[in-house]
């Protein structure tokens, strides 16, 4: 063999190898496995998408070792035909024993399946769900008790489980901890919802569609739904169940995903046989068209997180031709009038904040849009110690295709409806198919998931619904099985094998719950911790193998394993070797587990003062929606209040409090008395109620030795030279407020900052303006009000940008105070004070393009190196906005349609192109003359980059704004120049609106807070940031652990106040009650 040939051989070997081993999973063909099952759908008069809502939901998969031979067997649901059971013969060969086993079923329409040892005889039984009682569907849910010889007997009636209603799925678990397995049955409504109806109709009971909880009373199952507090209304569209002890009190809780407008349900187990549904209290928002789900600890904090699936596509063409989100006003109706929670059509990753609430991060985590998704399984497929995600996808016909709904269906369906109910292929032909790859996401240590769909497996597009994981070949890693519509089931064999270490655990618990369903396991190794719970029903209509699997990367030994049994006794195993299948047996000497130990270390730094010290101010935002007037505005500009100012207003040496208000509401002043504050009425504040007060200062502006009150007004509601836009200076005189003259200002002021910058002994004021009403994108002037013995003159600083905050510091150490100004669509701007002249030195101090949507700035020596750094509050990265240094987010500003009113169009980068964020209908709501003629179908528009939507000339003429950075973080001082270091992802979940310095034991810390709701339903809602206390760059603690109650609240201002020599914190909540905290 010559060298050349050798090279070729090596190359072939190399590439051959790479191709084969490059994928984590290998999909085995049916010929190899013998699994020929396919969930084949055939439209009939009663069974079709027009007559049965969930005709395309597919069937489930359940896995378990039904013959106790050490190999996992597989059960498949066929919607319309015979269900199948395959016995695993080893070597990945399977045998169909369905007919002999007697499990093929008698119902017309089957849905979900689970395996559990229902009768406690040590053998896995099978429970099959069905839809019965509509469209001529007959039968009932079936319980197949395992006879121990690969045959089964259907005995559902004897067990009280022969339910004949609209079932999706069932799960067996011990909710009352009496030792046996009870059952939760998930049902779905089948009627099409046309009007919302009040949310409280879920309190009614409806046999067909209401969910049901059954208590196992010696192998007879008693429906205890009503007494247990389980909703059974006609509007439950139950598609997903996740069981976990979410709040870590020892009792398993239930999360139910409901499709359509019905909220998901979060049932907290009260430990006395009843549940309390508390979704709104714990979840700021949830998936709207919630489908399957999975619960697992993805960030290794020992608390179970939750992933719920929806149907948001990533692909631009599909995205822009599919029905979008609710209108903002409809969302308001839905939530405030009809009583529903906030719901948005995308996957939601709900991070459990130690049981106190859930912070939703799917956008930040890169897992929000996997298209038409059914089931998710969170597990460590590549065994690197981090959880990965597998998602089944696909829908035979996309019913939310806009062209179909608006243009095509009319002719196609109308004639069909008249002649027969059967909607044939002709009528459906024009509805696009949604055949998709199942999705893989690889976990990382920082809450982000990386899409590895193409990298983890070489797949063909399918309509996959049910899914399970199991170690089919007993090699230690997790394989995957999917149930596909109109295609053979897929078997994904994991080839991680010995490349990474693992530990597989099964349990022997009790006679009635031998497999130990409900067992919790903590694994500690080399300073890392992982946590899992054994509940088999996961994903969608399906059950996975009753084992717990940990990936351990290169770790050779596990320091300890803590097993908490379903009866809340625990035992610890020490020094356990990896790469084996471990069976842990219940030890009678196991001790009671103390759950409070899991909630320890909660260091309460902030203790909310019950009576708020008398500051009972409730801010109420008036109903004004900027996007009703400027339909393409990217966010609200009229909701940035209220103002907060602290200072002595009555010369008694004690600090008082001013709180601004939104339009139509009175601003309020609270005077500090002995131990409480008392509200004091000022007629002038009533007179000025029409203003939107967003920023305020209490200080002595006229050097009369008593303080005055400066209030800045803003918002986008008033326009032109509207008096309510003018800022106000009030002098306190004889217990009254007297208005003083200020130079004219008819801008949307966002911030005022007072300082004696010219060292002439009186206070000057920086006035930062943000926007011009009805003309978003136009930049107002910002200026300094120079104080000449109490009278002010304007010194313009020019059109700096959409200013939101500013600080006076001496950043060039010349003993003169300079201005650092931050705002939206602008670079943090360094205005250097050169003897009273302000020079823009930004490019000297920052070398990066850092244009962002900044809302707050504070100076703070975050690295304790003696120079000043700055903390910047930005939009965060948990958003549909996208911006990077290479591909900034763009905003075009112009009068595009030349009707004398300007518009802004935001575009973000995706796959080599920029696309408008807004869809065709939204763009047309403002620019109909430019869009509707050009794009007469959604298909024409969808997938077109912005330069194909609008003429190049039009875009070139527009003013272009850019945002390169959405992250909040540190502007770090490196000997005179600054570089930006983003905070970690926990602080990027929502906009950061404000900072406050907290002094503790002479050490400064910075508290930051945020959240924001002034966005369209397209963006969702920023509700999950509980605030954070920044001690230094490496020590940042989240608010929920500190006693702060900021979850689901938009905090607009923070300020400390000293009362009787004690430090307190005032937190102003937008559209909510002020909170006062005692700082410990």
């Amino acid at each position: 063999m010559n060298k050349f040939t050798l090279n070729i051989v090596l190359m072939v070997l190399f590439f051959g190898c790479k191709k084969d081993s490059g994928y984590l999973f290998k999909i085995l063909p049916e010929k190899t496995t013998g699994i020929t099952f396919s969930n084949t759908l055939k439209d009939t008069t009663d069974q079709n998408i027009l007559d049965y809502l969930y005709y395309y939901n597919g069937g489930g998969v359940a896995v378990g070792d039904i013959n106790n031979d050490g190999f996992v067997d597989i059960f498949f649901i066929s919607n319309q035909s015979r269900n199948k059971l395959y016995i695993n013969k080893g070597n990945l060969k399977f045998e169909d024993i369905s007919s002999k086993a007697g499990i093929e079923g008698n119902s017309t329409w089957n849905t979900g399946v689970t395996m559990a040892d229902v009768n406690g005889d040590g053998l896995l039984d099978i429970y099959v769900c069905a839809v019965v009682g509509t469209n001529g569907f007959i039968g009932h849910n079936e319980l197949y008790i395992n006879n121990g010889n690969e045959t089964f007997t259907e005995v559902s009636a004897a067990y009280g489980l022969d339910i004949d209603n609209y079932s999706s799925n069932a799960t067996f678990f011990d909710y009352d901890l009496d030792g046996d397995l009870d059952m939760f049955l998930l049902n779905h409504a089948i009627h099409t919802q046309e009007s919302f109806g009040k949310a409280d109709i879920r309190n009614k009971r409806n046999y067909e569609s209401g969910d049901k909880l059954f208590r196992n009373d010696n192998n007879h199952f008693t429906d205890v739904s009503e007494e247990a507090g389980i909703f059974g209304g006609p509007n439950g569209y139950g598609l997903g169940i996740a069981i976990s002890d979410f709040n870590r009190d020892g009792f398993p809780d239930i999360y139910i995903s409901n499709d359509f407008h019905e909220d998901d349900y979060y049932y907290l187990n009260n430990g006395n046989g009843t549940f309390t549904e508390a979704l709104k209290q714990y979840f700021g928002h949830v998936s709207k068209f919630s489908m399957g789900s999975d619960a697992a600890d993805v960030n290794n904090d020992g608390f179970t997180d939750l992933l719920t699936l929806d149907m948001l596509p990533e692909d631009e063409t599909i995205l822009k031709s599919s029905i979008g989100d609710d209108d903002i006003q409809i969302q308001e109706l839905r939530t405030s009038v009809y009583g529903y929670n906030y719901q948005y059509a995308r996957n939601m990753l709900q991070l459990n904040q130690s049981g106190s609430s859930f912070t939703e991060t799917a956008l930040l985590s890169g897992i929000a849009a996997s298209d038409w998704s059914w089931g998710a399984l969170i597990s460590d497929y590549d065994q690197d110690g981090l959880q990965d995600v597998f998602i089944t996808n696909g829908i035979p016909k996309r019913p939310n295709d806009l062209d179909y709904v608006k243009y095509i269906s009319n002719n196609q369906i109308k004639k069909k409806l008249k002649s027969t109910n059967l909607i044939d292929q002709e009528a459906l032909k024009y509805m696009p198919e949604g055949k998709l790859n199942n999705a893989f996401y690889k976990g990382t240590p920082n809450l982000e998931f990386i899409n590895q769909t193409k990298e983890f497996a070489s797949q063909e597009a399918t309509f996959s619904t049910g899914l399970s994981y199991a170690d089919l070949d007993n090699d230690g890693d997790l394989d995957l099985i999917t149930n596909n519509i109109n295609a053979p089931a897929s078997i994904y064999i994991n080839s991680t094998n010995a490349k990474k270490n693992y530990l597989k655990i099964q349990f022997k618990f009790s006679k009635k719950n031998k497999l130990g369903i409900g067992t919790k396991v903590f694994v500690y190794a080399n300073g890392t911790m992982q946590y899992k719970e054994l509940f088999t029903q996961r994903g969608f209509q399906s059950a996975s193998q009753p084992i717990i699997h940990f990936g351990l990367d290169t770790l050779k030994t596990i320091d300890s394993i803590k097993v908490i049994w379903p009866n809340n006794k625990y035992q610890v195993l020490r020094k356990v070797a990896v790469n084996k299948s471990l069976t842990v047996e219940f030890n009678n000497e196991a001790q009671d587990f103390n759950y409070s130990s899991l909630h320890e270390n909660k260091h309460i730094d902030f203790e909310q003062v019950k009576n708020n010290l008398g500051i009972n101010y409730k801010h109420k935002e008036n109903k004004y929606t900027d996007s009703n007037r400027s339909k393409l505005i990217p966010y609200q500009i009229s909701d940035r209040g209220p103002a907060l100012a602290v200072g002595d207003l009555n010369n008694d040496g004690k600090d008082d409090v001013f709180l601004g208000s939104s339009k139509y509401f009175d601003s309020e002043i609270y005077i500090q008395e002995d131990s409480l504050f008392v509200k004091k009425e000022f007629p002038v504040l009533k007179k000025d109620a029409i203003t939107e007060s967003v920023s305020a200062i209490i200080s002595d502006f006229n050097n009369d030795k008593s303080n005055d009150l400066f209030v800045a007004s803003g918002g986008g509601e008033f326009f032109g030279k509207a008096q309510p836009l003018s800022n106000k200076l009030y002098r306190v005189l004889d217990n009254d407020l007297i208005k003083l003259q200020l130079p004219e200002n008819f801008e949307d002021t966002a911030v005022i900052k007072a300082i004696d910058y010219d060292s002439d002994g009186d206070l000057d004021v920086f006035v930062g303006n943000a926007t011009i009403s009805n003309n978003f994108g136009s930049i107002p002037e910002s200026y300094i009000l120079i104080n000449n013995q109490g009278s002010f003159t304007k010194k313009s600083l020019g059109k700096l940008g959409m200013v939101r905050d500013a600080v006076w510091t001496d950043f060039n150490n010349d003993k003169q105070l300079d201005l650092l100004i931050v705002g939206e669509w602008m670079q943090p701007t360094f205005l250097q004070n050169n003897g009273g002249k302000f020079v823009d030195k930004t490019s000297t101090y920052i070398k990066q393009s850092l244009e962002g949507l900044y809302r707050a700035v504070i100076p703070f020596d975050v690295d304790s190196d003696g120079d000043l750094d700055y903390l910047l509050g930005n939009w965060g990265t948990n958003t549909k906005f996208k911006a990077t240094e290479t591909y900034p987010m763009l905003m075009y500003y112009s009068d595009f349609d030349k009707n004398t009113k300007t518009e802004t169009i935001v575009a973000t980068h995706k796959n080599d192109n920029y696309y408008t964020l807004e869809g065709l209908d939204e763009l047309s709501s403002e620019l109909v003359s430019l869009t509707k003629k050009k794009f007469t179908t959604y298909k024409d528009f969808a997938g077109k980059p912005i330069n194909k939507v609008f003429d190049a000339e039009l875009l070139e003429k527009a003013k272009l704004f850019k945002v390169y950075n959405l992250a909040s973080g540190i502007l770090k001082n490196n000997q005179g120049t600054f570089s930006f270091i983003p905070f970690d992802n926990r602080l990027q979940v929502a906009p950061i609106n404000c900072f406050a310095k907290i002094k503790k034991e002479n050490k400064e810390q910075v508290l930051c807070a945020g959240n924001y709701f002034g966005i369209k339903p397209y963006h969702g809602r920023f509700d999950g940031f509980a605030g954070a206390l920044i001690t230094n760059e490496n020590n940042i603690a989240l608010g929920h652990g500190l006693g702060l109650n900021f979850f689901n609240k938009a905090v607009s201002k923070l300020q400390t106040i000293t009362i009787n020599n004690k430090q307190y914190l005032i937190a102003v909540i937008h559209n909510g009650n002020v909170q006062v905290y005692n700082i410990k």
Partner: protein, 446 residues
């Protein structure tokens, strides 16, 4: 006699030129009949259905092309008077100076050209137009070219006028503000919960009315949920009528009437997992359809047809402005919302509630206006078979007069469960006032 002579002279000269041409090029003149006009309007109506235009916008798409066509035929026809000076802001179209122009042909072409500008799916109309052109080209290319040239010139003139009617400005005005704290204020309705459409339509320039509020109807009954209040009684009437007709069943007269006059361009339907729309013509289009029936029944010439369509569409256009002015003044809540909130949460009207405030009833206003104008053209006691809705699966209904049809259209909204009685009674009056003004003020025919 004098008139006749002049006309004759012109005709002789015209024919003379024509004969000359025909001899040299062996071409015949292009014949334009009223059928051409029907077909064009029908085509545009179909495209409007496809493109989904709301009723007020649809009325605008009808009126301007009609005016363009009418102005072309009126210029050299002593039977007709130009609308110049009679409609707000309309100035005289350029006069035709080219004897090769066939004015009727120009009228059709201008109609198509303006319609094309007004609808979205241009391809649908250009395909139609091009097939007509192909035929005419075969008949007489020169005549076609000349007529086309003139038609486009007129279309340009009308477009310029049209562009000043505030339509483009109203596209970007603010949305209707939903405020559910006010119990009487209109809210989006099931199932689509669409925004209130055209909240600024009253700012569109009227054609004949001196202002959009010229025939402002009296205020609706004061909102009240007190059992004895007039408002509550009318609310309960909607509820009880629904109950009665449901008992009578699908074949009842009331249900037939409600469905016949539905005229909702976009009814959103959800069935199983399918969402779709059933689309029909608008109220304005229905009356344009009746105009066609009347013209046909009277064997109207091309010119007479254009005249009748134009006059009717003027009345429909101003009727919508008048009606929408009131709708977004009173901003009254729909019966469906109130019944769902206070009486029966599962209640649904026979017809789908359209997405705008309740008072006054659009169909009543438009029907009142159109019927008044049609009566002035064709006379009262004009019996006709209304087959306008047959393409949408609805039967033919026979009426003894336009006024009878209008009254039935109005009351259909009560049967349909989408209006209180006051909106119907006052709406019909409002429409008759608008139509009456058009009849009184606009002198189109001598």
């Amino acid at each position: 006699m004098f008139k006749f002579t002049i006309l004759n002279k012109g005709l002789i000269l015209f024919l003379g030129l024509y004969t000359l041409q025909s001899c040299t090029k062996n071409t015949a003149p292009i014949e334009i009949s009223s059928t051409h006009f029907y077909n064009s309007v029908d085509k545009v109506t179909k495209i409007m259905i496809h493109d989904i235009f709301s009723p007020p916008v649809a009325s605008r798409i009808f009126v301007y092309p009609n005016i363009a066509a009418f102005e072309i035929i009126a210029q050299n026809n002593k039977n007709y008077n130009s609308l110049t000076g009679q409609l707000k802001g309309l100035t005289a179209i350029p006069k035709n100076k080219n004897p090769k122009v066939n004015l009727n042909l120009s009228a059709i072409i201008a109609h198509i050209e303006l319609s094309k500008q007004l609808i979205f799916s241009e391809e649908m109309i250009t395909t139609y137009r091009d097939s007509l052109y192909a035929n005419w080209e075969k008949t007489n290319k020169e005549e076609l070219e000349a007529s086309k040239h003139y038609a486009l010139e007129v279309a340009k003139h009308i477009k310029k006028w049209m562009a000043t009617d505030n339509y483009i400005q109203t596209r970007t005005m603010s949305k209707f503000t939903v405020n559910s704290d006010d119990p009487s204020r209109w809210q989006p309705t099931p199932p689509a919960y669409m925004d209130g459409i055209e909240p600024h339509w009253s700012k569109i320039r009227t054609l004949v009315l001196d202002s959009s509020s010229q025939f402002k109807p009296k205020a609706p009954p004061v909102f009240s949920l007190e059992k004895n209040s007039e408002f509550y009684k009318q609310l309960m009437e909607v509820y009880n009528v629904r109950k009665d007709v449901t008992e009578k069943g699908d074949t009842s007269k009331e249900i037939s009437i409600a469905r016949f006059w539905d005229c909702n361009p976009y009814v959103s339907v959800t069935k199983g997992h399918l969402m779709f729309a059933t689309k029909k013509i608008t109220p304005g289009a229905h009356w344009i359809g009746i105009t066609k029936i009347a013209c046909k029944q009277n064997n109207y010439s091309f010119e007479e047809t254009v005249y009748a369509y134009t006059k009717t569409s003027l009345g429909i256009f101003d009727a919508f402005i008048s009606c929408w002015d009131e709708k977004y003044r009173s901003n009254l809540i729909r019966p469906e919302t109130l019944i769902n909130q206070y009486i029966d949460e599962d209640w649904k009207p026979i017809l789908q509630t359209p997405p705008f405030p309740e008072y006054s009833s659009g169909h009543s206003v438009v029907s009142g206006s159109a019927s008044t104008i049609l009566t002035s053209i064709f006379g009262d006691n004009f019996q006709f078979d209304d087959d306008t809705e047959t393409p949408y699966g609805l039967p033919i209904r026979t009426f003894t007069s336009f006024n009878q049809a209008a009254s039935e259209a109005a009351i259909s909204r009560l049967y349909g469960g989408i209006h209180y009685r006051a909106a119907i009674d006052e709406g019909l009056k409002q429409g008759k006032n608008v139509g009456g003004l058009v009849v009184q003020k606009v002198k189109m025919k001598n």
